[in-house]
Amino acid sequence: MDVAELKEKWTGWTFDEARFEIKSEDLSEFSLACGETVPRYTDAQDPDFQAPPSYTARFHGRRALPKDFPVDMATSFDGGKTVEWKAPIRPGDTVVARSHIHDIFEKTGRSGGMMFVVHRMEFTNQREELVAVVDWKMIQKLA
């Protein structure tokens, strides 16, 4: 598998778009389930009520990867998510998540060679303001 070729072919273009309506009760439930105690994340009556910073990590697009993306799920595993908070998400917002492959790279570790696929979701609100960027790393072991 030529990682440079994969990177050239698959990165940088949007392959999925999904829309999410933000509801007050969902924000509270999520925050409380995470053990959050700060009122602006848990109390819908708080004047600054908003989603907690990691809220967008809960969303999935319609596709996890582009159609025909060459990945062997049997030798792959989840490398975790990174959430970059950009602006508040509040009840009543409509958030659109656009997904693309942000990066593909190789590294070597104790267990051998690995290919990292960085799936990026960029979330914008109804005013087209960027509110969050979520990077999900998928790791595939290489022979």
């Binding site: 790279f105 590294k107 070597t108 990292f116």
Partner: protein, 216 residues
């Protein structure tokens, strides 16, 4: 002077530590450390400027790289434009011989790190494929090592009379300074660091109960 010669910040794909947080941690925990070198994975961080943090905290903060070769990972100190042009740092299949040669030619210093580690350290590769000419310094104390990996590294260094360094290989804040390198003289910058490494006026040390312990 004691410097942690192997650390990673959020600039590395797997680093979780901000450099400012390293500084705050060292100060808060009163670690007996004079500074550290950021050795980011498969790249040289041209952009970051840590002089403000150096001034604020009084630590020496230098930048280097950790590249990947056919004999395992290698720290490269003194990365410059010539070396960046000569080597594709992003590759995982550089040759150790090539990294050593190009580093020498461009005025940098290459130090194979965690040599005792499976697959990404040079010990096993030396056993299976033989020595590589040009190695003079190896990291014999790595804060991320397991089991007898550091002992294997030390044995390799002793057999070949290599100079020895130490570094934490920290990726998170609380791991900075677990291992380090003690120098005989004060070091103000990368040039002096390379001079002392090449001269072997250094030793690998580990922090145990607040005290530095030599590996010897």
């Amino acid at each position: 002077m004691i410097l942690d010669l192997h650390s990673h910040s959020i600039v590395s794909d797997d680093g979780r530590a901000k450099v400012e947080n390293y500084c705050q941690w060292i100060r808060r925990k009163e670690l007996p450390l004079d500074g550290f070198v950021l050795t980011e994975h498969r790249l040289f961080d041209v952009e970051s400027d840590y002089r403000r943090l150096e001034d604020e905290f009084g630590f020496l903060i230098l930048k280097a790289s950790e590249v990947e070769t056919d004999y395992g990972h290698v720290l490269v100190f003194g990365v410059n434009d010539d070396l960046l042009a000569a080597l594709d740092f992003a590759r995982v299949d550089l040759s150790l011989a090539g990294v050593l040669e190009e580093s020498r030619r461009c005025g940098a210093v290459a130090v194979p790190c965690h040599p005792g580690r499976t697959r990404v350290g040079m010990c096993a590769h030396v056993e299976s494929r033989g020595q590589v000419e040009g190695v003079r310094i190896v990291e014999t104390l790595n804060g991320g090592s397991r089991g007898n990996e550091n002992a294997s590294a030390l044995a390799l260094a002793q057999r070949n009379d290599y100079h020895r360094t130490g570094g934490s290989d920290s990726h998170i804040v609380s791991h900075i300074g677990r291992c380090a390198t003690r120098f005989e003289t004060a070091i103000a910058g990368m040039g002096e660091l390379m001079t002392e490494l090449e001269a072997g006026r250094c030793e690998a040390v580990a922090l145990e109960n607040g005290q530095w312990t030599s590996q010897n």
